[in-house]
Amino acid sequence: MSKLHLFLTLIPLLPFLCTSFSPENPSSRRVLVLFDDLALKSSHSLYFKSLQSRGFELDFKLSDDPKIGLQRYGQYLYDGLILFCPTTERFGGSIDLTAILDFVDSGHDLIVAADTNASDLIREISTECGVDFDEDPAALVTDHTKYAVSETDGDHTLLAGDDFIESNVILGSKKIEAPVLFQGIGHSLSPTNNLVLKVLSASPSAYSANPNSKLSNPPSLTGSAISLVSILQARNNARILISGSLSMFSNRFFRSGVRKAGSPTKYEKSGNEQFLTELSKWVFHERGHLKAVNVQHHKAGEANEPAMYRINDDLEYSVEIFEWSGRSWEPFVADDVQVQFYMMSPYVLKTLSTDKKGHYFTAFKVPDVYGVFQFKLEYQRLGYTSLSLSKQIPVRPYRHNEYERFIPAAYPYYGAAFSMMAGFFMFTAVHLFNK
């Protein structure tokens, strides 16, 4: 009875609990964390603590808990999902592969950590995201040249990765100095999926194979084609992080020092904490989420938007772009925002000038081709959510009375006509009254 009562009071709150990242209400976000062993909650607590300190409500559940579910009554209960359950063959409750894909398709974020002996389910989820893990279940990424020197771990499967993607928006503006420790399985990116990106790649000497069996055939994954950590930003701006190692999120790796083989510098602390925290900021839209507002265009010297332009008009276009910083919308500063004046193909493509306060503007002349044009702002940059604005506007030709009159080149014609008329007038008089 009391449960029912509680439930009834919660119903009106549901719409607030279960939105994906929306520009209107971006804060207060709930994340479901699924484990296959509850001990992970403690052994990976630094990672969770960094999320909680940034205002995320984490809901820790065992992956086979029969009560878990992503949505109830058609509403999503969570904004993000963290799968730290590499060996789970089936989820409990109503969660399955399709439920997770629907969750992502509705714009929610996902973090998947696989590990050796990753289950088919986790592999399938990854495959749907354009990430193919090594099919050999016992394979580990091994690197005999760029491994992390350890007194106790001698099989060179503990990698010191420092081949990061070059993107400040994904990894933060502060450079990651220390290498990132990685121990797990490698994956390759599907060449047909161009949304998925390698964030951390293996070094050219790496390969993915079972360290305990002799190699007779070349391994399917070698060299820097191996991706250790990948991200994907779907077309609906849902973001996904896929890592081949669960232990890279652990407190042990966060705290551990690292020295790369062949390099004399020893770092007191591995780059894992910085790397994964910055990545989680990206995944949960605390960085790189853009919104464009206040799109305006008008004729030069006017203020109101016309219903139609004439060819050869001078026009001004402006837009304001903001980036979500985790707490508020900050002006977005870039110098490569471009607008297109588009009909079947761009007639004008111009880079917008900016006042560094989020206001972008430009001016250009309407082409001398008439038809239905669009102002198109397609902003797709590495790591940022894509902005796609388009506004339709017709362009008409000159009206008949808008052409130039009294062209000097036509003076002989005018002269001829008028002298003819004058001649005619005189001729009528002379013809009629001459005697």
Binding site: A39, S42, S43, H44, S45, L46, T142, H144, T145, E151, T152, D153, G154, D155, H156, I165, E166, T192, N194, P204, S205, Y207, A209, N212, L215, S216, N217, P218, P219, T222, G223, N251, D336, Q338, Q340, F341, L349, K350, T351, K365, P367, D368, Q380, R381, L382, I407, P408, P412, Y413, G415, A416, S419, M420, A422, F425, M426, L432, F433, N434, K435
Partner: protein, 692 residues
């Protein structure tokens, strides 16, 4: 009894010998720094007395000196809790726990008061938690103030009523009304019962203690095991009010067990292996991330460190990667779980075998030399028979003192995986292009795999490429690394990887390009050759660009496979596009204005000529009517014509067609009329003339 125990222990370990081994390190400095990080007081105090106790106890066990100063604030809340009559037994329990560490000044009267309250709870308690908190509190009061009478009169009765909650499998229920049994509760019950024994005014019935010992043995039958040899307890029921994870459950059982063992005489028949396994469980979790888990880990290890059942000794190796080239020494440390030194003992290296193979031991049993300065056991030089490779070394701890054998558990033989690494020498590396049919050598080049030289070769599809080299270990044996790849990379980044096989004593690969043309997608051009040789035990793994080979392959037939699509470079895909500006239609070319004006003049010339012509032929207007009416019509007619011409000019200048036509209509009718009158007048005058 103890001898039996050791005997069975050795037997169990001999069986478990073939399992995967892993090393556990005792508590070290990293735990101390983590403790200071985890237990940081906010505003000079921890949240509750429970947290305060956990922090203080952890600092105490780890021997942290520069702990945060929380003494005065905590003492105040301790005395407030103790004085308040509304505090629950749980509050009192934690207040007393904090007080046992801080030793605040508390009046004896307060103790008296609490004691009587607690005794009342004990006597009519029916839930396990009531018993646990009140009895434990009484034990704490007994330690803190010897003058207060805390002894329980009816200890046997209390013992029985707690015991009544136990289940047949060694677990306990929280209360008689709750049928679900819990392992965590068993731990609490054991601690409470230990408290009853220590508080008993008279000796507890011996048979009760014997049954309880059997219960403990039964409880330990439900222990669970990880593959690495660590043991733990887990709560079976998940739906309990408060779910306890394996860590807190195991911790509760250990606290109960050690408390019980410290107050009873005689041994509890528990395998030392399980105690060691429990210690391994706590060490195996590393550094927990939350303070509760951290406290449970450290507190349980402290309980194990000084327990009366058997104290586990942990054998650990500071380094398990030993370099043959650098002549690393094999070092073994034996410590208690908290890292304090062990009693006098000898570590014996029993066996060593190559991992993965079931061959016999490569070395003979030998004792390690003890270095008292660093408290490590050393093997100065690895035996000659140990070459590079992965080994499993088997150690055994032999305690010197026979009394120690009863106190400590060593786990018998311990297996440790070891990596013996070394610098591998490469010899006779050469690369050659062979003619296919004859096998004769076309070009042959020596390679220095350590150096920086690069070769350039050329071959066609009828030839072969041969690469060969030898690898030898520091002990002069032939070495087979795990990773020996030859990679050919075309200019278009199409890669082909080959595993270099070994035949007897040397690595050799022969690439017959005739058979490979299809695999190479008929792509002629320059291929970079890269050789990768690596192994876990090879200190100088090679990743080297050997050079390049210029391949001349035949033209691709029509149905040849195409090279796979290359992934798009993300940096170029997302870059800004090139700007596009519209090219406007150029305005038509026009003549200069002067030319137009000149032609305007030319067009006016005929008019001028016309006027001159008129004057020349001497035109006159003599035929103009003279009478009034025809004059009017003639003037109107010509005005009408002028108006039509003006209308044309107006049409040209500003009017549109409709206005013009409308006006023209009126003007036309008017002109028709006046024209007709004028013309008929002119016709009549000319007719008169003719007739005249």
């Amino acid at each position: 009894m103890a001898r039996n125990l050791v005997g069975s222990l050795v037997l169990v370990l001999a069986i478990s010998l073939c399992e995967a081994a892993s090393i556990f390190q005792p508590i070290s400095e990293s735990h101390r720094s983590a403790a200071l990080e985890l237990f940081t007081p906010a505003d000079g105090s921890f949240g509750s007395l429970e947290e305060t106790y956990e922090a203080l106890r952890t600092f105490g066990i780890l021997g942290i000196q520069k702990k945060p100063d929380i003494g005065t604030g905590s003492c105040q809340s301790v005395s407030e809790t103790l004085e308040s009559s509304s505090s629950t037994t749980k509050d009192l329990f934690f207040a007393l726990k904090v007080n046992s560490i801080l030793e605040c000044k508390i009046d004896e009267a307060i103790f008296q008061d609490i004691t009587s309250r607690l005794k009342a709870v004990v006597n009519d308690g029916n839930s396990l938690l009531d018993f646990y908190y009140s009895i434990s509190s009484l034990v704490l009061i007994k330690d803190q103030n010897s003058r207060v009478d805390v002894l329980l009169g009816d200890a046997d009765g209390i013992f029985r009523s707690i015991k009544a909650l136990s289940q047949s499998d060694g677990r306990w229920r929280y209360s008689s009304s709750n049928p679900e049994s819990s392992t965590y509760a068993a731990g609490l019950a054991l601690e409470a019962l230990a408290g009853v024994i220590s508080l008993a005014s008279s000796e507890i019935d011996h048979s009760l203690i014997v049954t309880l010992k059997n219960d403990i043995v039964k409880l330990f039958d439900s222990i669970e095991k990880y593959d690495d040899g660590s043991f733990y307890f887990d709560e079976k029921l998940v739906d309990a009010r408060e779910h306890h994870g394996p860590l807190s459950t195991t911790s509760a059982v250990i606290r109960g067990l050690t408390a019980f063992a410290s107050v009873t005489s005689g041994t509890i028949n528990l395998s030392g292996n399980k105690i060691l396994g429990l210690a391994k469980f706590f060490l195996g979790i590393g550094i927990p991330g939350n303070s509760k888990d951290f406290f449970n880990q450290i507190d349980s290890l402290a309980c194990l460190e000084s327990n009366r059942v058997s104290v586990p000794l942990i054998l650990s190796l500071p380094a398990t990667v030993l370099s043959l080239t650098k002549k690393d020494q094999l070092k073994v440390k034996v410590d208690t779980v908290l890292g304090s030194s062990a009693p006098p003992l000898t570590v014996k290296l029993m066996q060593a075998f190559i991992s993965g193979s079931k061959d016999s031991s490569v070395i003979e049993t030998q004792e390690l030399r003890f270095d008292p300065e660093n408290a490590v056991h050393l093997l100065d030089v690895l035996p000659k028979s140990v070459d590079v490779g992965n080994y499993i070394f088997v150690f055994e701890i032999v305690l010197h003192d026979s009394v120690d054998k009863k106190v400590y558990t060593t786990g018998g033989q311990t297996q440790v995986p070891l990596f013996v690494t070394g610098v591998i020498k490469t010899d006779n590396a050469e690369i050659a292009v062979l003619d296919s049919d004859l096998g004769s050598i076309e070009t042959q080049k020596k390679l220095d795999l350590a150096g920086e030289t690069s070769v350039s070769l050329s071959a066609n599809h009828l030839q072969k490429l041969r690469l060969s080299f030898q690898l030898t270990t520091p002990r002069g044996k032939f070495f087979k690394p795990h990773q020996v790849f030859l990679k050919l990379r075309h200019e278009t980044e199409v890669e082909h990887i080959f595993v270099v096989g070994n035949s007897g004593k040397q690595f050799e690969i022969i690439l017959d390009f005739l058979g490979l043309v299809e695999k190479f997608f008929y792509l002629s051009g320059q291929y970079d050759i890269q050789l990768t040789v690596g192994d876990a035990v090879m200190e100088n793994s090679i990743l080297r660009a050997v050079g390049h080979v210029e391949l001349d392959l035949p033209e691709a037939p029509e149905k040849a496979p195409h090279p796979p699509a290359r992934p798009v470079d993300p940096y170029s895909r997302y870059g800004p596009k090139a700007e596009i500006t519209h090219i406007f239609r150029a305005p038509e070319k026009r003549p200069p204005k002067e030319l137009s004006l000149a032609f305007l003049g030319l067009t006016l010339l005929p008019f001028v000529g016309f006027l001159i012509g008129l004057l020349h032929i001497g035109v006159n207007l003599k035929n103009f009517p003279t009478s009034a009416v025809p004059v009017t019509f003639a003037i109107l007619f010509h005005l009408g014509i002028a108006a039509v011409l003006l209308l044309y000019a107006l049409f040209w200048l500003k009017w549109d067609l409709f206005t013009t036509l409308k006006t023209l209509g009126f003007l036309g009718a008017f002109l028709m009329f006046v024209g007709h009158r004028t013309l008929s007048h002119l016709a009549s005058t000319s007719a008169k003339l003719k007739s005249a």
